[in-house]
């Protein structure tokens, strides 16, 4: 194929890429989105009932990344040899149009404002010595007030259901009292609370916490978004997490943005296009386009552009920067470079309560974004002084729809057998009469937790795999243990006949075999200092200013909240400044 030219290339057709493509075509640019997976349409492979096949879906990973072509390697510590993440388990990146935004659950938070300047806030409240040795605590260099219009915009695009607390400074509902002020209401009222969530709401209030219904990008009523696309009301079928929503109720790039983009003649989507690298000029100061492998013809294609948006999944962004030579790779020994620095995750543990056998929790009923949470132990909403750790966790019942295979493999819990005699008895009790409560929390960044290129393993295209060096650290383990201890009174107040509290163990290593969460972050973080951040406050590369890197890769720390709302707001924030400032005068938007 011949070299071709477009105004802007967008890499990846998930949330971040779809938002940037929409904004840049609105600005009049010709935009080509390159997606290495297949095109995906809810009307085709997301159709009812064939799409709600658990085996083919969540178990055999219909919508997830196929690791046979490319994966990562993982080790816990710098001295270890990393080995490939051969089978999906701990985290589940997406692949294909929609990306992880097609198979996500739909919990749609904003941000805890204190988290945006966590370093400044921790030092102000507890002093610099409170930060443990080796923890790279950083600020985002953007405020909640600056981001608020973009949170608002994203919620209107997503059709988010929720209950406000304050709107323009006035109490407007029974929402989360720790949530920041809003300029406007949620587009839709909160989702109903399922039985287990309603029990949690009453119990948590009775023990003095502040429960609220989760903000969910699951439509509680019919909705038409600003792009003119329509959503149907969620029917609590329970097939959000891991599935494409056949009801058109869960927000996805496929449902909420792409139908409008596909009608725009300035928009081109090329699927089965695996980007090998962003091409730079000889001084590595300017991107000239990308080279991708057409997975159907096996031909390499060069595509030229004035602007390159790197908006794949978090670690793919970092991988592509390293493969392309954008910025300086992070070196944990010399403590130099920024690309790969501050790789973060989230802590999550799931505790279980069993109710009397007269109470059926009907766990198959649910919605991925719905539930009831408390923020009393999230962010800086409580006094860390006597506790001696940084960070926190929301705690919730988020009944997303428990399917039989996953439940059966997970087993009945407690001391009950995982197979054989006694298994059925215990499994039936657990499936019919129990509920789960998660502590879903932050994970800080550390000097020796990072991403780089693996020296040994390559992908199917001959390029080095990305290497993760990651394990749990004492600060985050103690945070998790503390927050989980606060679940116990809720369990008791709910009338649990018994319960098991799950927490990270002291010195516990990261285990790649068990699903935890797909909320990976960092590695190309935003910030004010080019010595400690890869992109500036507008998510523009410090080193190659016509490259913007959008996604959870920009998070300096792993926050307690689910990341998608923040990713979408940052995408709209960055796009706004590209449109209003960068395009008029291309070049660095922040002086280093």
């Amino acid at each position: 194929m011949n070299a071709r030219k477009t105004d802007a290339i967008v890499i990846g057709a998930g949330w971040a890429g779809s938002i940037l493509a929409k904004e840049l075509t609105e600005a009049g640019l010709s935009v080509t989105v390159l997606e290495r997976g297949d095109d995906r349409a809810t009307a085709v492979e997301g159709d009812y009932p064939s799409s709600i096949d658990e085996l083919r879906g969540a178990i055999r990973h219909r919508l997830f990344q196929n690791l046979s072509q490319t994966t990562v390697t993982i080790r816990n510590t710098v001295g270890q040899v990393a080995v490939p993440y051969r089978r999906l388990a701990a985290f589940l990146p997406g692949e294909g149009v929609g990306g992880a935004g097609l198979h996500w659950s739909g919990v749609h938070f904003r941000v805890a404002p204190d988290d945006l300047a966590l370093r400044t806030n921790v030092i102000a409240r507890y002093g610099k010595s409170f930060i443990p040795e080796g923890m790279n605590l950083q600020d985002y260099d953007v405020t909640y007030e600056e981001l608020e219009p973009f949170f608002d915009k994203a919620e209107k695009v997503f059709g988010t259901s929720g209950e406000p607390y304050t709107i323009q400074g006035k109490i407007a509902g029974k929402g989360n009292p720790f949530a920041p002020d809003r300029s406007d209401a949620f587009p839709l009222p909160a989702m109903k609370d399922v039985y287990s969530a309603s029990l949690f709401k009453t119990a948590a209030a009775n023990v003095g916490y502040h429960p609220y219904s989760l903000p969910a990008a699951n439509a509680s009523a019919p909705y038409t978004n600003p792009y003119g696309v329509q959503m149907g009301p969620c029917n609590f079928c329970g097939y959000c997490s891991g599935y494409d929503c056949y009801m058109y109720s869960k927000a996805s790039p496929n449902v909420n943005i792409l139908p409008s983009l596909r009608q725009d003649p300035k928009f081109t989507l090329i699927t089965k296009a695996h980007v090998l690298k962003v091409n730079l000029d000889s001084e590595k100061k300017k991107a000239t386009g990308v080279t991708y492998l057409d997975l159907q013809t096996r031909q390499q294609v060069e595509l030229e552009a004035d602007l390159v948006i790197v908006s794949a999944f978090q670690f793919h962004n970092v991988h592509l920067m390293l493969l392309s030579g954008i910025g300086q790779p992070y070196d944990p020994v010399a403590n130099t470079g920024t690309v790969g620095r501050n790789f973060v995750y989230q802590t999550i543990t799931t505790s279980r309560a069993w109710l009397p056998s007269t109470h059926y929790t009907n766990q198959f009923i649910g919605a991925g974004g719905a539930g009831v949470a408390i923020d009393d132990f999230n962010s800086m909403n409580f006094d860390h002084g006597p506790l001696g750790f940084v960070g926190g966790s929301p705690v919730w019942v988020n009944q997303a729809g428990a399917k039989p295979i996953a439940a059966a493999i997970g087993g009945p819990g407690g001391k009950a057998p995982a197979w054989g005699e006694g298994y059925k008895d215990a499994m039936v009790e657990t499936y019919r009469h129990s509920l789960t409560i998660d502590a879903h929390g932050s994970n800080m960044a550390y000097r020796d937790v990072y991403l780089d290129l693996d020296p040994t393993y390559t992908d199917a295209y001959g390029q080095p795999l990305l290497r993760m060096t990651f394990t749990w650290k004492d600060n985050d383990i103690r945070m998790n243990q503390y927050v989980v201890s606060k679940i116990e009174p809720i369990m008791k107040a709910m009338g649990a006949t018994r319960y098991s509290l799950e927490k990270l163990a002291t010195d516990q290593l990261f285990d790649t075999r068990r699903y935890q969460t797909t909320h990976l972050g960092g590695g190309a973080v935003m910030g004010a200092d080019p010595q400690t951040s890869a992109v500036n406050r507008y998510l523009q590369s410090w080193d190659v200013p016509n490259v913007f890197v959008i996604g959870a890769s920009a998070f300096p720390q792993g926050m307690g909240y689910n990341p998608t709302g923040m990713v979408a707001a940052l995408a709209y924030w960055s796009a706004h400044h590209i449109r209003t400032t960068y395009l008029k005068n291309p070049g660095p938007m922040v002086r280093a």
Partner: protein, 221 residues
């Protein structure tokens, strides 16, 4: 690399094939395994039944079709290891860093069953696993569950977990994949299958959901 394998079109094609098989299997009489040989098939039937036994709660894995399910899975992209990263080098690594062998599921079974059966014969006067009584079979499986002993190149506990997971998949997946015959797995748990519309049952104050399961093809229990 690539081609039809791993693409959505492959999955659709593959699924249609499985679906068609499921529909014709209704009148086809006893299932004849395509991948497992007769000795393996006897082992598999006995082991699945011990993992999910027939009891007062209802049928076990054997009559639910879990062995048939596993046999069918051996000829899917999953069975061939097409969903896993299978490039070397294959190193010994700490268990928490996950599976590091070069074997896809069909080879895990081939090596694992032969070695597990040999282990059973060694400890039970030359009788193969399928010929032991239920309690002796359970004892062998418990040995495997907790042992690092190699079965071929597969650690025993790993082989056991593969068997346990695939058995439960067979018991609880949609019947179009060959298991969960009569939807009895779902009936046991109280899972309503593909009904997938609970608008009126978001919160009924803890009352049991009243309707039985329905499969993707429309079969009811």
């Amino acid at each position: 690399m690539g081609g039809l394998l791993g693409s959505a079109s492959f999955w659709l094609y593959s699924d249609h094939e499985v679906w068609a098989d499921a529909l014709t299997a209704v009148d086809a009489g006893p299932y004849t395994p395509r991948y497992f040989n007769q000795e393996e098939w006897r082992f598999l039937n006995a082991a699945c039944e011990r993992i999910f036994p027939t009891d007062a709660h209802g049928p076990g894995a054997r009559s639910l079709g879990a062995p048939e399910f596993i046999d069918r899975q051996m000829d899917t992209p999953y069975g061939h290891g097409k969903l896993w990263y299978m490039s070397g080098p294959f190193l010994n690594a700490p268990e928490n860093l996950g599976y590091q062998l070069s074997l896809p599921p069909r080879d895990i079974y081939r090596q694992g069953i032969a070695a597990a059966d040999a282990y059973a014969r060694q400890h039970h006067d030359g009788r193969s696993f399928a010929d032991l009584d239920a309690s002796a079979q359970t004892a062998v499986l418990k040995d495997l569950e907790h042992s690092e002993m190699p079965l071929g190149s597969v650690p025993a506990h790993f082989f056991f977990e593969q068997l346990r997971q695939n058995t439960l998949e067979g018991v609880f997946s949609d019947p179009l994949h060959g298991g969960n015959k009569g939807l009895a797995g779902w009936t046991l748990l109280g899972f309503p299958g593909a009904r997938a519309d609970f608008m009126d049952w978001v919160n009924q104050q803890g009352a049991p959901y009243p309707f039985g399961p329905v499969s993707i093809s429309g079969e009811t229990a």
